[in-house]
Symmetry: C2
Subunit: 373 residues, 2 copies
Amino acid sequence: MKPNAYKNRLTALRRRMASTAADGWDAAWILQPENRRYLSGFKAEDGHYPESSGSLLISNSRALLITDSRYTLQAQNEAIDFEIKTLRQNLADSMPAWVQEMGIQTLGFEQDYLVWSLHRKLHERLKGLSPPVGLTPLNGVVEEMREVKEPEEIRSLEAAADLISMVMDEIARRLTPGMTEREVAWEIEGLIREGGAEGLSFPPIVASGPNSALPHAVPTDRPIQADEPVILDLGARVQGYCSDMTRTIFTGDPPPWLKTIYRTVRQAQLAALKEVRPMVESAYLDARARDLIQEAGFGDCFGHGLGHGVGLAVHERPRLGPGNSVQLKEGTVFTIEPGIYMPGKGGVRLEEMVLIEATGPRLLTRNKLFYDV
Amino acid sequence: MKPNAYKNRLTALRRRMASTAADGWDAAWILQPENRRYLSGFKAEDGHYPESSGSLLISNSRALLITDSRYTLQAQNEAIDFEIKTLRQNLADSMPAWVQEMGIQTLGFEQDYLVWSLHRKLHERLKGLSPPVGLTPLNGVVEEMREVKEPEEIRSLEAAADLISMVMDEIARRLTPGMTEREVAWEIEGLIREGGAEGLSFPPIVASGPNSALPHAVPTDRPIQADEPVILDLGARVQGYCSDMTRTIFTGDPPPWLKTIYRTVRQAQLAALKEVRPMVESAYLDARARDLIQEAGFGDCFGHGLGHGVGLAVHERPRLGPGNSVQLKEGTVFTIEPGIYMPGKGGVRLEEMVLIEATGPRLLTRNKLFYDV
C-alpha cells in the first residue's frame, strides 16, 4: 500500500466518527485482525484465538496500536501512522489510562469479535473512571469501509487471483486417478507457496466422487477414481489479499447426469454474472442463478448462498444469498459460486471472483478451465 | 479414543454440574472447539473465527450437538453420545426452543469465547421465555477437566512428540547456510505431513541470526548464515493432540557469547525439569529456571513464562510463569522452554514437553539434539 493509504482510511473512519450516524462513539477500539491491518498496515496475525497480536485505539486526534513485546518492533516498522504502546500488564488493566488520557467519552467496540469476559472487565473499569466512559457497538463500520476496494487493493486481489488461476491449471494437469484427495491438497499447497503467496486463503478443498456432494468437504485418504467429479476449491493470499476459486474437474468422461448438473451450474453462474453492475441487489443476482437451477429440477440441491465478498478476509461483506439483500457498489469484489449437490452421488460447484466496475462485471479469476458438456 | 471415553467425560461434567461448586448452572453450552471435541468426539474444525462448525448443549439428562447441514453427517458419525440437531436458522433464534424443551433454568456459557453480540441476543431471547432462563459464565470448567490427561490422551501426545522429534532431526540434517528461513519452514511442513500428522500445531518458527532474538519470529526470506543460531520451534498434530518442541541449531562453530547463553538456557531447563513432581507449584518451577538465568546476568533477556500446558490445544492450562502460581497435578503435560534473547544479536530457546508422573517427570519429547558447549 502507498504510505498515505492508511492515513486516508483513518480520515474516513474519523469522518464517520464525527457524523451523527456514528451511534455516538468518539473513539473506536479495533481488535478484529483484518480491520486492524486495513487501518494500520500492521501485518502480524493473531495466534489461535484468542491470542491477539494487538488492537487499535483511535480517537479524533490520536491513533494508538497496543501490542506486546513480541510485536513492538514489527508494529513500529509497519504501522507508521500509529503510536505504538507495549503492554506491561493485561489489556483490561492497561486500557483505562489510555482511554482517559485521550479524553474519550464513549468507546466503540466490535460486538461480533469482542468476547464477553473482556467486555465485562473493561466495562467495569471504564465506568469507574471520572468522568465514566461508556462502551457501545461499532456495528461493522470498518467492515463497511472494506467493502469497496481501492485501486491498490484490486491490484493485490488480481495478483492473488492470477496465482490461484495458474495453480488450478497446473494441478488439473497433474491430477490422475489413484492419487488421494490429501495428496492432491498437499501438491496444491506446494504450488501456492512456490508461486510466491504469503499463504493459503483457506485449506484447499479436494472433494472427489461422493465427497463432492459435501460443500465443505475436508480432503480424505480416498483415492480419486476415473470418471468422477473432483471439486477443487482453492485460494492464495498475496500482499494480504485473498483469492477464492472453484473448478470441478473430470478425470475421464463424465456420465450424463453429471454433464447435466455441470451444464446447469455453469449456466446459472453465467446468468448471475451477466447481471453484475453497480447498485444491483445481491438477492437479485442470487435469484438469477437459483431460479435457473430450480427450473432445471435441482432446487433442493443448492443449499448455500450465491457468494461472498473477498478482500483481506476470504469471507467478508457483502454476503449474497436469497435473504438480506443489499445494493452492491462499484468497487466491490465478490464470488459467484453456484453448486448442485446430489447426496451420495456427487456434486459440481464453479466459483469465479468478480469486480463491479462502472461498466459492469470484470472477472478477476482468469482461469478458463470449464468444460463444454 | 475408546467409545466410552466421551461418556465418562460427560459424566464428569455432570457431576460438576450437580455439585454446589458449579456456580448454579444446570446446563453447559460449549462453543470452544477443543472443548467441543474433548466432550463429544466431533472433529470438525471451525473456519476462520467466527465461522463455527457447531456447539454442544448439555444438561443432566440430554446432550445435543448443534451444527449446520455442512457437518450433519460427520457429527452423526463422530459424536455418538449426542443427539445431532441441524440448524435451520441462526443460533440465537434456534437455541431458546431447545433450552426450554430441556427444562434448563440457568445455562452456563464460555465467557472467554462467546462474543458480546451473540451473548446479548441470546440473553434477550432467554429472558423472554416463561419461566425466564438465565446465563452464567462456566469459568473454565472444561479447560480444567482437560488439564489432567487420560492414558489414551498421553499416547496421542507421545505420538505427536515422537513425530516432531524425528522431523527436528531430519531438518537439522538438511539445514545448510544459504537456505532461507521460509525454505526451511516449508521443508518442515512437508516433513510433518509426510510423517502422517493431521496438521501443524502452529506455523513453524525458523528464526536465524538476529531474528532469533524475537521469541515469536515469523520466517522471512533471510538466508541463514554460517556460525549463527537458528531457533526451530515446531509442532505437529496427531489424533487431535499437539506437540511443541524447540531446539537451537548452530550451522557452524558458535561464538563464545552464544555458547554462554546456550549453556545457561540448557542449565535453566534442566534445573526446572529436575523439580517436576505432583503438586509442585508452577511458579516454583519458573523460578528455578529464572533464578539461574538471572544469576548468570541475563535476567532482562527472558521475557516470557517458563511454559504452558499442551493437549488438544497447543497452548492450554496450566500457564507456568512467575505469577499466578498453581499446583501441577499428576497427569499434566506441559512445556519447559526457557530462553535468552539479546536484541539485535540473537537468542537461544530450548523447549521440552514433559508429563508429570507419580514418580516425577517423564519427557515426551525424546529428541537429543543438544550441544555440549
